[in-house]
Symmetry: D2
Subunit: 335 residues, 4 copies
Amino acid sequence: MLRIAVLGCGRIGGMHAANIAAHPRAALAAVYDVHRPSADDTAARHGVSVAETAEAVFASPEVDAVLIATATPTHADYIEQSVAAGKPVLCEKPIDLSLARVNACAEAIRGRDPVIQLGFNRRFDPGHRAARDAMRAGEIGDLHQVVITSRDPGMPSRAYYEAAGGLFRDMTIHDFDLARFMLDEEPEEVFAIGGRLIDPALMAELDDFDTAMVILRTASGRQCHINNSRTASYGYDQRVELLGTTGMLISGNRKPHEVSHFSARHTEKAAPYLNFFVERYHEAFNAEIGAFVDAVEKGIPPEVGFEDGRRALILAEAAMKSAAEGRFVRVSEIG
Amino acid sequence: MLRIAVLGCGRIGGMHAANIAAHPRAALAAVYDVHRPSADDTAARHGVSVAETAEAVFASPEVDAVLIATATPTHADYIEQSVAAGKPVLCEKPIDLSLARVNACAEAIRGRDPVIQLGFNRRFDPGHRAARDAMRAGEIGDLHQVVITSRDPGMPSRAYYEAAGGLFRDMTIHDFDLARFMLDEEPEEVFAIGGRLIDPALMAELDDFDTAMVILRTASGRQCHINNSRTASYGYDQRVELLGTTGMLISGNRKPHEVSHFSARHTEKAAPYLNFFVERYHEAFNAEIGAFVDAVEKGIPPEVGFEDGRRALILAEAAMKSAAEGRFVRVSEIG
Amino acid sequence: MLRIAVLGCGRIGGMHAANIAAHPRAALAAVYDVHRPSADDTAARHGVSVAETAEAVFASPEVDAVLIATATPTHADYIEQSVAAGKPVLCEKPIDLSLARVNACAEAIRGRDPVIQLGFNRRFDPGHRAARDAMRAGEIGDLHQVVITSRDPGMPSRAYYEAAGGLFRDMTIHDFDLARFMLDEEPEEVFAIGGRLIDPALMAELDDFDTAMVILRTASGRQCHINNSRTASYGYDQRVELLGTTGMLISGNRKPHEVSHFSARHTEKAAPYLNFFVERYHEAFNAEIGAFVDAVEKGIPPEVGFEDGRRALILAEAAMKSAAEGRFVRVSEIG
Amino acid sequence: MLRIAVLGCGRIGGMHAANIAAHPRAALAAVYDVHRPSADDTAARHGVSVAETAEAVFASPEVDAVLIATATPTHADYIEQSVAAGKPVLCEKPIDLSLARVNACAEAIRGRDPVIQLGFNRRFDPGHRAARDAMRAGEIGDLHQVVITSRDPGMPSRAYYEAAGGLFRDMTIHDFDLARFMLDEEPEEVFAIGGRLIDPALMAELDDFDTAMVILRTASGRQCHINNSRTASYGYDQRVELLGTTGMLISGNRKPHEVSHFSARHTEKAAPYLNFFVERYHEAFNAEIGAFVDAVEKGIPPEVGFEDGRRALILAEAAMKSAAEGRFVRVSEIG
């Protein structure tokens, strides 16, 4: 049993705490949150103790590893402290909104070798993973195009937007990682447009976007399209399509059940898709914990690590630059 | 070009006339209907002549073959007359409501050998046929179970009911033929129940049913279920399912287009199914004409002939007996 | 937290033990199995104690309720003992293979009032339940037909067959309960045929069936078809279809993920269905535990109780009689 | 009956001739092809005469209207001649590969007013049209994103490529028109990349592409993605997706039948999609003829006219420029 402490007991930290507590090979060691009542609440639910400070977690001999789900500006610091304490880390994305800070963090932890796994949960989704496995097994021949549809079921709060660092670094960053996972090759060029279609006033005020389209191209010419929106009224929309010379693979959405309704006005009417990431990626979040335990216990590199987090951020910055300048931006221009 | 005359210009005769007129290998030779205006109307639409009598059709040197779509009580007579005139026949089901009359007709035409094809159009449906072909090619191993769902989109008129001979001989007869087509073996036993659920008063008055369930069993033990209803509000429901030792095949319904709608209340909502047999079996009716032309031109037996019509009627009578007596009826008790 | 002891640590008992251990509102109190190593193994997995005897479980003040997953012949005895000890019971189906024993058990516990819930897990499946809820909410008008497809992914062992009491009491019994759940009315008549198509020699030797079709009819004339087979090579096949005057509802199968594959030879090829009940009804088994906890804590009748188990058994016996005699059997002939 | 002559008896001209011959409201008046045997063959199939020259067609009093399906360089000339002769035209896309020539043609026919309909058949597809109708009826709220998947089932011949004018003017031009049809607003900016992934050597030699991705943006900010490939091994892939504030619409692909196959290795395996445009857009091509007859008979503007052809070409030129320069190109830069 790997004893994992959870830093940050918000929506996603709370979910991770529950997953760890229920995991057959992990135990919830302790929780911490700058907002003490959140930590208390999570601790009570799972019968674990609350750490007074993050430092106490890093110092504790009862803690084997740390899951970082705190506010983004703390991620890099906590990674550095955890690494200094010799504790493996599973860190939510992004590492930081600043590429310079990410690079400094990389420098700070260089040469030390604990597992640092990034929270790109989608790589662990059974569907997305089965699609990629089939592609790599040759079931569609040579890969030519990837199409990623990624739409949230609704607009987050203003406060969320203010801290998120913009659509490309907050939302599309998951798709950039998924694109890298699927393309089997690094994207070299990025084109992106951002739109203010759902809440134009708020988006203009915050200089942010609620809708986006992206095109990526790899060195060998593979093409990838990503589309994002925060208005998928029909549920969290998460699809990946892979086109190759001899076939296509689609990893589609999940519904809560398989009931369909037929009437004089329609056939095959089904329930809305699972609403958001906690439900849609339930199995993925669990598999992510399992993969982290494996990496730590076997001393192997994590399936998705620090450098993956850095590269996804670089793609996000390239997208921001492209959206501003209206041109194909080379990834090498960024980092 | 095979010159085919159409006897009977009602809904189904009119459809056949149009299909023949548009068929690349057939020509509409003439039309006849006891109700002259119907014949005039159909003739005008296709620029052909109206025969004064059915006898004139059988006698005409301009007519190579006859399609019989008149009222059921005339079918056997017209078959006999057409055979006597040496003209191949494509006859709508049933041959007659009386098995004795069907047997007498069989006797009357014995030894003469024109093509007599029965209008069991479903055998020519691309989906049903592809399912059967796949089954016979071994794609599901040994066949164990057949499930036929066959539901009309609405109740016919009282006049239709009065002439139709009861649900089993009117509606289920198509499913009995389809069951024989799919089972690849003769059913030996029949169990059936009839229900009066849609219009109980009318059904009781006419001693008929609007809803039914049937089980058939063959000599080798294969099982077949048929369910019927005249209340498929979502469109004509025509499905066939074949279960075998190594797999299953389902031939499903057709929609007018593949548009699906997603909203906060549902996903994947599609259009109602094609409404009724003219639309749903459009390709089948055309293929039926083509198969008839082939049989006549090549002098080969029709794909579905007189004896198939007789056997479907026997199954219908067995079902009627079973529904009355509440027991498994052996087909050999009937005919 | 309801402290539940599990009697019987075979496949299904072991699954229940794990579900109880992970349930937020239940705790695994102890386990027992006549085969001590099975009990030891399950106990070790969840860190609980092994009871020396079933009697020790009933007597223990540390046990609030009992889940019975032992061999069928012990069910009625254990129910009686548990009731005598004042402990609520969640009992796997069937109560007993003998209706006389079931009736005696009913007599023995009459007047005492602990919760006795039967393990008809399918009632708790999110899909089946959503379909029934929609039907009861009027979304298909008046219900006319129910079609239940229920096929196991493979043949069980000879030993299993020898103890199971025949297809209708072992496998179809779940479908009889589901039919009662869906029909919203008691079936009054039963017709059934059994087949020996997968392993004819074994089935003949054991006087059992591996394939079946059933028709039920209620007092108001509602019709229900059930088909069973132990050869669903494509995965556990569990479908329910409800036809009403204004629409249809289908509760379909679940796949492990939503990946589809397209090639020159096919489109939309998906993964096999979830293999068997542990996977397919995972959510249902959890909801079943939750409903049991609710019933005990709130002192309300269970959603599916002793009388439901008795009625399903009566339908199974009626089916056996029908299969033997080839006729529609009235339920009132049985019990 | 509108008497329509067909100029050009290649694959698409031959198809149009057959559709006109079978159309209830149109008649095939004559055919012409610079390659006489093609014209003879088509004429013989439908029992019509062959015109010696295109000029003879324009002059004939037996010809009410002209369908132009000849080689692209003749389109503008024939449009001008047909208009001069007062005959309505249904012209295959593109009007010309040169925007200057298209503009000159527009000038030449200015002020005269016969119907000129462009052969953008996809607007008449029942699915695409139903999706657009539903969108315009408010079923998805405000439109934000359009995603068009448009992939051919295989590479055309080298000769075809040499005459086609490049992927964007040959293949994507249909998608540009469909995008305009769906966006309900003019695209103002175009970004495009072209790839040489299927036959890199041939594509490099011809300076052409076999794979492409495009992003369009309208004045109000609506976003549209198009992806193209000539390697849809699973059949002609033609999908349109519309995302709005309250829902989504998808117009999907058509199969030849609805048979699905289930086995130990897969479920729901269906047939490949209809192979190419003749099959997939069969209903659309017929509706296109019907709409042309309507426009001519009622003296109303065609549903898709000369200016639509010109605008689609402008978008294609913008895409070519974008692919060359790696930047968002404003449509106003082109024409």
